[in-house]
């Protein structure tokens, strides 16, 4: 995975930042406007070092930061039939798909991976908002079903990072049917007594919120993430009044009892390790002895196969 972290990602970053800023070394925070050195920003997981605004992060970047030594094995998601409705608006659906695949380098809006966090084996799934707004179609449904099946097969917890505008209109009713479909997947986990932890990231809305993203045993959100069923604009049009500041943001949902926690991205990994280990009745994690991605890369396979008792091993440094 290192070539992605060391080569592809900086290249992609440089392509995007070049448009706005010469020298392609700087990214502007969309919240406070501070110019951020891109290396520093990506080291901080795309959280503004000035105002702590959480910017978007791709599933790959997130997994690289989440898994021990940045190692994870991607799970192949079964391909659904392409363009089941032969949907056409101003553009054809397959053309929109191709454009999204080209700009993101991904197949669709969800990535599923196996790996360890704090030497705790988990299955993780992350939704990619940059791929057609993270929209939930049949591929995303297949990804969730596959992730749950893998979790049940391997007796691991599932951690899901949600980010989506909602269902994918271009798949019509079949996208809507991913609501019950993903719910079946979550029930498989529940029956197997495996933890299902949802991390809601900005934005999580519509049919995604109204199905798998709200059914976690533990619900954590990133700060200031918009989380809702109907978006603020729709509500303002319906009730014809201005909505209060912070409406439908993570902190607001926490206050209203819809979330367990709001956690900074940089603290998320430790928190997830802690929660999953407690729910899996494992001993406390041993912190601070894990090697960084560069050093540990050659041992990737070994790390992935290490048994749960690994936390008693001495530090590798």
């Amino acid at each position: 995975m290192n070539w992605i972290a060391n080569y592809v990602r900086p290249r992609i970053n440089s392509i995007f930042s070049r448009r706005e800023v010469p020298e392609n070394l700087w990214t502007k925070c969309d919240e406070c406007g501070t110019m951020l050195f891109h290396r520093e920003l990506s080291d901080n997981l795309n959280v503004c070092t000035n105002c702590s605004h959480h910017m978007a992060i791709t599933p790959r970047e997130r997994f690289t930061a989440l898994f021990d030594a940045g190692n994870f094995a991607e799970v192949t998601v079964p391909d659904p039939i392409a363009d089941p409705l032969q949907f056409r608006d101003q553009k054809k659906y397959p053309d929109r798909m191709r454009a999204a695949q080209k700009s993101t380098g991904e197949k669709d809006a969800m990535l599923v991976a196996l790996g360890e966090i704090g030497q705790t084996p988990i299955v993780a799934a992350a939704q990619d908002f940059s791929f057609m707004g993270g929209s939930m179609g049949m591929y995303v449904g297949n990804a969730i079903v596959k992730a749950a099946q893998e979790a049940v097969r391997l007796k691991r917890p599932l951690i899901l990072f949600s980010a989506a505008g909602g269902a994918r209109m271009q798949e019509g009713i079949l996208s809507l049917m991913q609501m019950p479909r993903s719910t079946v997947a979550i029930q498989m986990l529940r029956e197997a007594n495996l933890p299902y932890i949802v991390v809601l990231t900005h934005p999580t809305t519509g049919g995604v919120t109204a199905s798998y993203a709200m059914l976690g045993d533990v619900q954590i959100a990133e700060p200031n993430a918009l989380i809702c069923f109907a978006g603020p604009r729709v509500i303002e049009q319906t009730i014809r009044e201005k909505l209060p500041e912070g409406f439908q943001r993570a902190e607001y949902l926490l206050e209203h009892g819809m979330l367990d926690r709001v956690t900074d991205r940089n603290d998320m990994r430790d928190e997830l390790i802690s929660i999953t280990r407690m729910l899996m009745l494992l001993p406390p994690p041993v912190k601070g002895h894990l090697t960084g991605p560069e050093e540990a890369a050659p041992n990737a396979i070994e790390v992935a196969k290490a048994p749960a008792k690994a936390d008693k091993q001495p530090a590798k440094k």
């Binding site: 032969q86 019509g172 049917m177 019950p180 079946v184 979550i186």
Partner: protein
């Protein structure tokens, strides 16, 4: 007075003329207009047949939303005996957009749950136009769980533009309420059958229609988003709802092909509102058949049947 839809204007004219003639004849006895009026009737019948022969998806949406279409309470009144409404979610309040309660269907005790749109201004406001708030879904969850405990089949009648997009609804967890209702549909060990009687609006419909068997009335629709909403997002123009309705494949006929609907219930010529009794009788037959299909299945088999059905959805497209 008949409420005509925009595409029925020519029909309104002919039927209006026939009506006028008859009114005149009632005033002056010597006029003999019957032959002429009968000819107009004949013409109107032919036109009606022609109009409804192949309704476009957008026209089906209009028929599905027709104000005189039989609503949930009409079906409950006609088909269920001893209907005993049960109210409230025991958490916050009652939601009158959702009807639900104990009743007998063909003598058998059941739990019936459905969206009610109302049929005049005051009842529409009372029912919030069939748009449920979280309390409506939580009430449904409560009733489904009760049905599960006592072994009563659950019948849901779906007719909603969607879940209510309001401030309070969001504050009280609209998405969580819908998610839990869908989840409850999937885990109850009693037969769950559903009929889309009008509009199946997105998540608000899924929360009730995640059933062992789903039937749709011939001119009902079921969609991930309203054609107007889809048009304003993808076409950036809400007036493109005809194109959007076409692209979304939201008709009962398309959904039968996709496996989302198990049955399509024929409507009388000119739509359910032109012969409410016949429509209600057809729905009754269909409910009997769907419940019959599930007779004798044990709780585990019923749960498995539902899960397998939804897991398999999407394995065939329209082209297949």
């Amino acid at each position: 007075m008949t409420h005509y839809l925009d595409f029925e204007k020519p029909l309104a004219e002919i039927e209006g003329k026939a009506e006028e003639l008859r009114a005149m004849a009632r005033v002056s006895e010597e006029m003999d207009i019957e032959a002429e009026a009968a000819a107009l009737d004949h013409k109107a019948a032919a036109l009606l047949k022609d109009l409804y022969k192949k309704l476009s998806p957008w026209r089906k949406c209009q028929v599905a939303r027709h104000p005189d279409r039989p609503h949930c309470s009409d079906y409950i009144d006609a088909l269920f005996q001893e209907y005993t409404p049960l109210a409230g979610d025991r958490k916050f309040s009652e939601d009158e957009a959702v009807l639900g309660g104990l009743a007998r269907f063909n003598d058998r005790p059941v739990m019936v749950i459905g969206h009610e749109k109302g049929n005049d201004t005051s009842s529409r406001i009372q029912r919030n136009f069939g748009m449920a708030r979280p309390e409506g879904y939580r009430k449904a969850v409560r009733l489904m769980e009760m049905a599960d405990r006592f072994g009563l089949p659950v019948i849901t009648l779906v007719d909603t533009p969607g879940a209510y997009p309001g401030k309070g609804a969001e504050e009280r967890g609209q998405s969580e309420a819908i998610a839990r209702a869908t989840e409850t549909c999937l885990q109850i060990g009693v037969p769950l059958v559903s009929v889309i009687i009008g509009e199946g609006g997105s998540g608000g419909a899924v929360a009730f229609a995640t059933a062992n068997r789903v039937a749709m009335l011939e001119h009902s629709v079921y969609s991930v988003i309203s054609p107007e909403g889809c048009a304003s997002i993808l076409w950036k123009n809400a007036d493109k709802m005809r194109e959007a309705a076409e692209a979304l494949r939201l008709t009962a006929q398309d959904l039968l092909k996709l496996g989302v609907a198990d049955r399509v219930i024929p409507e009388p010529l000119g739509g359910a509102h032109r012969d409410r009794e016949a429509t209600i009788a057809s729905v009754s037959d269909c409910l009997t058949k769907m419940l019959g299909d599930l007779d004798g299945l044990k709780p585990k088999a019923l749960i498995k049947d539902r899960r397998d059905k939804f897991l398999a959805l999407g394995s065939k497209g329209l082209a297949a």
